[in-house]
């Protein structure tokens, strides 16, 4: 489940703007995911590319080798919408469970 969650979160970061793997890992760290290395992100990005949820464009960089910039495809946008719906449902379900605990019903 956590693995699938990371896929969804990476889609969300890429959805905000066309970007490359290092920035994805930094954005996730900024949101509190902790240090996730580029090496950990890379196989997930490959998987998302294989599923055609993201596409890559190689762009020259001023400070080193060319970088692969990723953006969402239309299928990626659909999957991201579904991920958000699933997350809302899960979030509500877990919230309700904790609420019941607070009320002393479980």
């Amino acid at each position: 489940m956590l693995k699938g969650m990371l896929d969804g979160c990476i889609l969300q970061v890429i959805n905000q703007k066309e970007t490359y793997a290092y920035i994805v890992s930094k954005e996730l760290a900024k949101c509190g995911f902790g240090e996730i290395s580029e090496g950990t992100i890379y196989p997930i990005i490959l998987r998302l590319q294989k599923k055609e949820l993201i596409s890559a464009t190689v762009k020259k960089s001023n400070s080193g080798p060319s970088r692969k910039y990723y953006k969402l495809t239309s299928s990626g946008e659909e999957v991201l919408k579904q991920f958000k719906r699933d997350w809302d449902e899960l979030n509500n379900a877990v919230g309700s469970l904790f609420h019941l605990e607070l009320e002393g019903k479980i």
């Binding site: 793997a21 580029e38 090496g39 950990t40 196989p43 997930i44 080193g64 060319s66 692969k68």
Partner: protein, 222 residues
């Protein structure tokens, strides 16, 4: 190897030189491990190119390979391998034949040179004939098998962090090599029945044919 793979490999070999010495060991281990997978050579080069770019980009930020890759190198490689398309059964069979043909034509060239020198020294006519005994054929098979096992062993154990006892490693390697040499010496000494006796030109023709088939297979399936 296809032209596209060759072009990628050439580009990667050039970029690879920018990897700092301190990052090279882990990078090399990752590449060796990926080489042992069932990915096509083209995909291996694609991945290698991405890894090189990530490492150099990291170096430019002041990050070492541990920071860029996150230290679970084997897991990352396994994830990459499981994500990328694997060779089909036919591609695997063709890769096996490519490797075998490559080994045979290399050994064939060595044997032709050996026979030529022998013929010139002994009978003063290098082009008389080309003979292969049962022992030489058996030794060729042994060399192909040992080479295949060695390549596979090196790629599968590239991440072994267990500290090797150098003396034990030397003794093990010495014993295995001695056994292989003993079997090959026995075979070439006792299995001297001539199985193939053809003209030198025919032998060269066969080697050229094997070379051509190997290159064609390699271009299509690697």
């Amino acid at each position: 190897m296809s032209r596209a793979s060759k072009a990628l490999m050439k580009n990667n070999n050039k970029k690879e030189k920018e990897i700092l010495k301190e990052n090279q060991e882990i990078y090399t281990n990752m590449v060796i491990y990926l080489r042992g997978s069932d990915m096509t050579e083209y995909n291996q080069e694609l991945i290698r190119g991405d890894l090189i770019d990530m490492i150099i980009d990291g170096q430019n930020r002041g990050d070492n390979i541990q920071k860029v890759m996150g230290e679970n190198y084997k897991e990352i490689c396994d994830e990459i391998i499981s994500t990328m398309p694997q060779k089909t059964t036919i591609e695997k069979i063709m890769s096996f034949f490519t490797f075998t043909f490559r080994m045979i034509w290399i050994l064939g060239v060595a044997l032709i040179i050996k026979t030529l020198i022998h013929n010139i020294m002994e009978v003063e006519d290098g082009f008389i004939n080309y003979t292969l005994t049962s022992g030489e054929i058996l030794n060729g098979v042994i060399i192909v098998i040992v080479a295949g096992i060695t390549v596979n062993y090196i790629s599968k154990t590239s991440f072994n962090e267990k500290k090797h006892n150098r003396l034990m490693l030397f003794i093990k390697t010495f014993i295995i090599l001695s056994m292989i040499i003993a079997v090959m010496s026995f075979s070439s000494h006792y299995f001297d029945y001539v199985l193939i006796n053809i003209s030198m030109l025919a032998a060269m023709g066969i080697i050229v044919l094997l070379f051509t088939v190997e290159k064609a297979l390699s271009q299509k399936y690697d």
